[in-house]
Subunit: 256 residues, 2 copies
DNA sequence: AATGCCCATTGCAGAGTATGCAATCAGCAT
DNA sequence: ATGCTGATTGCATACTCTGCAATGGGCATT
């Protein structure tokens, strides 16, 4: 809609790949160097990009700070956190909280396992949509046409032999998940890691987030992990109750 | 430098505070609503902002993903990580890695303590500049005039009775730190938490990052933590050696 | 030390884009 | 139904951005 801003923003994913110099940026944007320079300067003034010693540009600190601040302000996260901690205290495994947003599912909170062998994941990291238990729950709740559309345009990487192979299988899985109100990922992403997940519902029953417990085979078998399901579901329901109960809207900020 | 981009970027910190509607954004930017709308639309198209059910805007998923990707691509982080893990395995405490960038110090990696009582921190979170051990190391290495300038313009919040009180004290502390090549924070940020930190140096001896080990009093006393100093310094030196040895510059991307 | 190359940077005039206005539309509460 | 609040659109104007070409700075080579 706005050409200038559009161009400026296009620089970001480009720099996310790694540092780049002025000419590289100009070429990738298909604009004159002087144009790219002005855009980069503006981004720089805002701390969004950083200029390193060799004059190349990369993404800047403020971007991290922004992402961080925004994450900390998410209502669900704040409400869910104590419940996640409690669940972790009870079972000891890694607990995740995730939300869906325009074709991406991402972890917004995490409580680390107390066991030495842990699952690798990181807050803010986009989740493997086609296999993750939390992704299934979040996508299963989309309105039918959109769900189908998303399923069609996804890739189905074969992380393991048990990864969801294609759109048809995925839609079928989503139907099941939607029906039963919980989901699992049994070695579909990492051969040796299993997850069980449950949905967190907002006011009108829409799934606003999903939480999961993950553990590697070497710690507990899939069967053992499944025995935690009732507990996970109860936690998710408790969070849902809190969430609809007090949609803490921290006093509308008004402008003087 | 570019008005339009400047305005668009000014929206981000505003939204980081929490969701806002069109009018609020327009007012804060001091532009017409239609202008704000177009800017928000552009940001939206790029996934930088997200529009929630109540039509208000907030920061979007792509922002998190970008911050994440950028972080993962930092050379130092990649090189340092295995060393941090090793140190954590040896001592069990929380290990942090931090860098300085334009008036901010932020954690770019972390290995969690194995003890149940842990320090709160989060990757990407800006660090308390005036007290954190890693911040002291990073700031101590700035060229004299800049170091002074930064010290002067900082605030000196009294987190605890042992927080650095003012610019003079801070500059003195930085001189010491610079001299001795390591730093501590003994209850200067959180009364009950101590840290010891060591610098990671790049090619010309410049401090490019800093790492620290942190532990609460209830786990180990400050004195006990200090016994880890040689080990921390050795780890930092090992990372430095790796870093100058192979400044992995992942093959310049060229544009077709 | 001098030269040449590469890349960043700047001034400027033209072109195109962003802006603000005012009107319209949509949703919600009265 | 009616009136409010807030989002959205079309359009002419003015201003901002753009690309060019020239300048400048840093670095390696001779």
């Amino acid at each position: 809609m706005s050409q200038t801003v559009d161009r400026a923003l296009s620089i970001l994913p480009l720099l996310a790949e790694g540092p780049a110099n002025l000419e590289q940026v100009a070429q990738r944007l298909d604009v004159h160097k002087s144009t790219a320079l002005r855009l980069l300067r503006t981004l720089h003034e805002h701390g969004i990009v950083h200029r390193q010693a060799d004059q190349r540009y990369r993404l800047g600190a403020r971007l991290f700070a922004l992402a961080q601040e925004a994450m900390e302000n998410l209502d669900v996260r704040e409400i869910a956190h104590p419940h996640l901690v409690e669940l972790n205290a009870a079972c000891g495994h890694t607990v995740h909280l995730a939300v869906y947003e325009e074709d991406e599912v991402l972890y917004i909170d995490k409580v680390e396992s107390r066991y030495p062998v842990r699952m690798y994941s990181r807050i803010g990291k986009p989740v493997a949509l086609t296999v993750a238990a939390v992704a299934k729950l979040l996508l299963a709740d989309l309105p039918e046409p959109e769900r189908r559309a998303v399923a069609e345009r996804l890739d189905y990487p074969r992380y393991t032999s048990r990864s969801t192979p294609d759109a048809a299988a995925f839609l079928a899985e989503l139907a099941t998940v939607r029906e039963q109100g919980w989901a699992t990922d049994l070695g579909g992403h990492e051969e040796s890691i299993n997850c069980v997940a449950a949905p967190i519902r907002g006011a009108e029953g829409r799934v606003v987030a999903a939480m999961s417990v993950s553990a590697p085979n070497v710690v507990v078998s899939a069967d053992e992990l499944l025995t935690l399901l009732p507990r996970v579901r109860r936690t998710a329901e408790a969070i849902s109750a809190d969430y609809v109960g007090k949609p803490i809207r921290p006093a509308e900020r008004d402008t003087p």
